[in-house]
């Protein structure tokens, strides 16, 4: 099974590619709304991409109150 750090890195890479932001501009503790310039619906889009990549299913409510990549990675990691 992959480590939490690997999961986090993959999320950052996927998010950067999906929203066309340079990967080096994203850090684990960044607020993804601000770093990616997205709204909550686009965040749900990102979540779908991540679900498909990691083969997990996260209910929408799991994202409530989550705004940084590290916490998001934690939510995915426990389901791997």
């Amino acid at each position: 099974m992959q480590t939490a750090e690997q999961t986090l890195n993959e999320i950052l890479t996927l998010a950067a590619a999906h929203f066309k932001v340079p990967r080096e501009k994203l850090s684990p503790d960044d607020d993804f709304f601000k770093a990616l310039g997205i709204d909550s619906l686009q965040t749900l889009d990102l979540l779908t991409k991540l679900e498909n990549h990691f083969h997990v299913e996260l209910p929408d409510y799991e994202l409530q109150g989550v705004s940084d990549f590290r916490t998001l990675a934690g939510k995915i990691q426990v389901r791997l």
């Binding site: 619906l41 749900l44 889009d45 929408d60 409530q64 940084d68």
Partner: protein
Amino acid sequence: MLEIRQYTCLGAALRDALDRFPSEICLIEAERDREKLRLTYSDFKEIALPLARALEDADFDPNDRAAIIMTNQSKWLISAYAIFYCGGVVVPLDYKLSAAEHLQLLAHSKAKVLIVEYHLWRAIMQAPEFHNITTKIVLVTEAPLGADLAGAFRWEDFKRKGAPDFIMRQKDDVACIVYSSGTGGRPKGCVLTHENYLEQCLSLTAWYPFWPGVRYLSILPTNHAIDFMVGFVGPFVCGACVVHLRTLRPEFVRDAFVRYRITYVALVPMIVKNLERGLRAKFDELPSWKRSFLNSMIAINRLLTKRRPNVKLSRMLLPNIHRGFGGELLALITGGAFMEPSTMQFFYDLGVPVVNGYGLTEAGTALTLNDLKPFRADTVGKPLPGVEIRILNPDEDGVGEVAVRSKTVMSHYLDDPELTLETIVDGWLLTGDLGRFEKHGHLQLFGRKKNMIVTEGGKNIYPEDIETVFDGLPVKEYAIYAANFIWPKKELGGEKLVLVLRLEQNQTFDSRLLEDISARNRRLPDFKRVAGYLIWEKDFPRTASMKIKRQALAEEIAQVAQHPPVVTL
């Protein structure tokens, strides 16, 4: 449709609807692309009455209050009906609030019963304030077997055999207490009567009727006035069907239009813009000849529907677009926040009528609505039947505060006679919104008189409510404002919050302070965040009791800083 005028309360109207349309489908619930539930009106009754009986047996009495904290789903509506059946008062709470805010509003509303989804109850149980909870009975939906519910009951098991007693209410009895906002210092609980809802139902269905076979896609939260009316009361009294989709993922929302051949949907601007973005991206991918053909058909449709919509014609001209919306969509209803006219025009040109309206929790679902005769993207429509609107103290452009008198206007704010007196004056509700009537009798909105913003997601945010997050910030003093309140502009859209800071003497604004502010800001849900800050060089004016004189400070700032010198966070 039932003859609404004969009823004195929502419970009786809904009860008769269940008997009148027993075999019609009233609810469909889907989890992503998987359908979970399909109920007829008869099935709905069979599930709701044992719950009503169990509530009565648990001493839930007429006039007692029951709060509901749930995402859009069948159990929301079943629970609300059971509460009305017992003569109770429904307190719909926004599921997106924090656990601490839920507890605060539960205490303020004095709800005797709470009906809540498991994941939300889990968050409430973990809140430090949980030990103060005063709610006597808690029913938790969808809890895993064996989960620790801290004394709460499983909703699915909370039922009793035997017919419950139906409790008739009168028109001026309270039906719901709906919080328009104010979770910080001063909760604003709008006390709405049965008459408020029955009148609203009458006027709305007169312009946009439902009938058996109509399918309404319920996406706006049901605690919101719009969905409560057009995603529950309205369709039910007409024998129509409500479709609940338990996700807001754009791809599943798009899929639901087709799968369930949706007739109506109400959306906040953020979702409509997302749909627009998706469609525009698809158009851009088309080969140039196809794109040119599409543009021509859109232009023809625009020309032929200039005076009024013609959905059948639009479906023939633009079949692929309409198939993408399920082929039976009659209107896309928007409300709850400012919608850019260009977005509305985009959909109208495709033959998807966009019904724009204006309402506020204090006055029911909608006060004005576009009648599409013709479509007007630049207004919020005309007053609905029974709604009187006046523009107070109009300026040279005819713009003034919008005041409303209607049987849909709330009775009062819960436990706040002072605020009620300020808000309802001689029978007129002062909305705090600025507007004017144009020559065809359409209302146009231009901004707000009050210090608040409405987000694209339809959330009302009062700056005072989020200031506590900045408590202890190492500065002399601070205040949060709606930018438009300090620098009024005669337009809506792009509303932002600004943090005004007064530093200590000799203090400089350094990176540590910026990081502190940013970290606190991140603790707020994204839609409540402050967009920027402003350093103010003078002490804030204060009252004798040391409260900030907000209006005076805003005027001082506006005088000195004509152009907002706000630094983006």
